[in-house]
Symmetry: C2
Subunit: 331 residues, 2 copies
DNA sequence: CTGTTAGCGCATTCAC
DNA sequence: GTGAATGCGCTAACAG
């Protein structure tokens, strides 16, 4: 491995000057600067980032934690997170998070990441606490269901998004609906559903609508089974907190012989590529992935930079994509 | 930050002993070992991995490079790569690779990863060369289209997999088929198609079959447009090198009014969740993701360990999942 | 068994 | 403008 020493010798300067060229830039005389640059070129020198990290106490790495990157929604966001991170000179370390990984994760991240992005993922309080103590800031994409420990987040304004949908459903005459979510109260999908329930219970215009909650655990298979278990649907529309559950629901309806949307309207919450191709195609909220990813990275970088006070959580407005699973569009 | 020094002081031993407890294990007297462990516990000590890396010249990080993690196929493999890496005590850094990122990537990985996994991705020769010189081993998931520089890979035995499919098509009376792939000869999807073409041109039992190649660039949208451009299909079956193109094909057929499978049979090559839910559901080769991910990580770890001679590339046998897009199943 | 010590490659203070 | 020297936190001889 060629180090700073080799470059210095080859350029006939001291090691410090090489560092100056690499960092402080302007201090060095133009002539020597060029000599150093040429030496780096000729030796094919690349600064060792691990050594730099040790010295600067900045790793230049951001950890992304998610429960299941197999979900196209999370994968799509990861894509944009990486892009945004690169823009800021950071790189991404990716981690599947499950509670049983907590200890390994603590060890693996020690001294290795400057900040953490929770991607549709919440963390137990003691883990949050650990990162707090280590001064590793966190940003969550998806509003955490509980906020014992303050946490900066970015999410869709679900209340607004679902409000639009309920209004459409009301226009179409639906009065009994189902909500499918993830029963674990720590799961961030619960924040989506909480918004829906809040609306249904407090907004005057929806007071007449009856609703029930189904457990889909955020996954295709579980949603499928949840529907298959029902003898009769006592609802005419179902709003799913994520798209995989909506797709599982459609699949179950087909196997049950329930016609969508005639007997049951189905609605998703992310608009992954897949929902446009199911039979029938599924109407869904369009989760603004790029915007969410960019905002999350920006906020995290700010927090890393120490701007604690002025980094606020944000809600994003989302569009709604109408498709046949909703039935006739009354807009 | 609590360091090894703090622990040593708190436990009343030297810094070396703390290291011994952490690494060499057995050398230390049980009593002091426990004292040290308790000190670590009480101080909530975590070894700084960056510092360790600098000393040991091992980062404990594996880089994963892929062009587009938005594809559920790649995302699904990433999931298992992370799992396997964790098993071996490594963690994953994720990078979107495009040629214009080459320089940034070289810089970002310097001293930061012990090995690299190419996920459905090939690299220009000079970049491969760079990693070679730096002694960073690579393993590719997907056989590279060209092998100028030797590269360990793991992939499906496409010749065997597509052989099964062509036999089925033949039984069903298809004699004109289309292959959809990615025209860039560097793209790893080309290796899949090369196998198909090789079979069609050299296997006696398929000599009578006519084929043509369509350009889908590996993406849904491009596949869709490629089909939409056709006035008439001069083929009765289409084999797509990846599933997103198969889904794009189905979507285009719907918009063209071509019935699948009656007028056109469509086949994919990965069996992502999505292909079971399209209209009609798409038959596909089942890419053994877990196995491929595990093998890739194992090989990479071996290469990192210096076992150059005995790390061979491997081909995996894949099953075929029949679905309505293929028409009547004659097995 | 345990302590002392010398770096790993880099950034940076302080002289010159 | 440039160089010498220090230390980031850790591992691993080596000495005791």
């Amino acid at each position: 491995m060629v180090t700073r020493n080799d470059v210095a010798r080859h350029a006939g300067v001291s090691v410090a000057v090489v560092s100056y060229v690499l960092n402080n830039k302007s201090i060095v005389k133009e002539e020597t600067r060029l000599r150093v640059l040429r030496a780096m070129e000729e030796l094919n020198y690349q600064p060792n980032l691990t050594a730099r990290s040790l010295k600067t106490k900045r790793s230049g790495q951001l950890g992304v934690l998610t429960n299941f990157i197999g979900n196209p929604f999370e994968a799509g966001i990861l894509l944009h997170l990486e892009e945004a991170a690169r823009q800021y000179g950071y790189m991404i370390t990716y981690h599947t998070y499950r509670d049983e990984h907590a200890e390994v994760l603590k060890a693996q991240l020690a001294g290795r990441v400057d900040g953490i992005i929770l991607l549709g993922q919440s963390l137990p309080d003691d883990l949050l606490d650990t990162f707090n103590k280590r001064n590793i800031p966190l940003v969550s994409i998806m509003k955490p269901a509980h906020l014992e420990i303050p946490l900066t987040y970015v999410d869709v304004d679900w209340q607004a998004a679902y409000g639009k949908i309920f209004r459409l459903l009301k226009q179409q005459g639906h009065s009994e609906i189902a909500l499918m979510s993830h029963g674990n109260s720590l799961n961030p999908l619960q924040a989506r559903m909480a918004s829906a329930i809040h609306l249904l219970e407090t907004d005057e215009s929806f007071r007449h609508m009856k609703y029930q909650v189904l457990e889909g655990r955020g996954r295709y298979e579980n949603a499928y089974h949840a529907i298959m278990q029902l003898s009769e649907p006592h609802f005419t529309a179902i709003l799913c907190a994520n798209d995989l559950m909506a797709i599982g629901t459609i699949a179950a309806c087909r196997d049950k012989g329930w016609r969508v949307p005639n007997e049951l309207a189905v609605i998703g919450s992310e608009n992954i590529l897949m929902v446009g191709e199911t039979n029938p195609p599924i109407a869904a909220v369009e989760y603004p992935r790029i915007q969410a990813a960019n905002m999350a990275v920006e906020k995290l970088i700010q927090l890393i930079g120490g701007h604690h006070g002025d980094v606020e959580s944000d809600l994003i407005q989302a569009d709604f994509i109408s498709r046949p699973s909703l039935g006739r569009d009354q807009e």
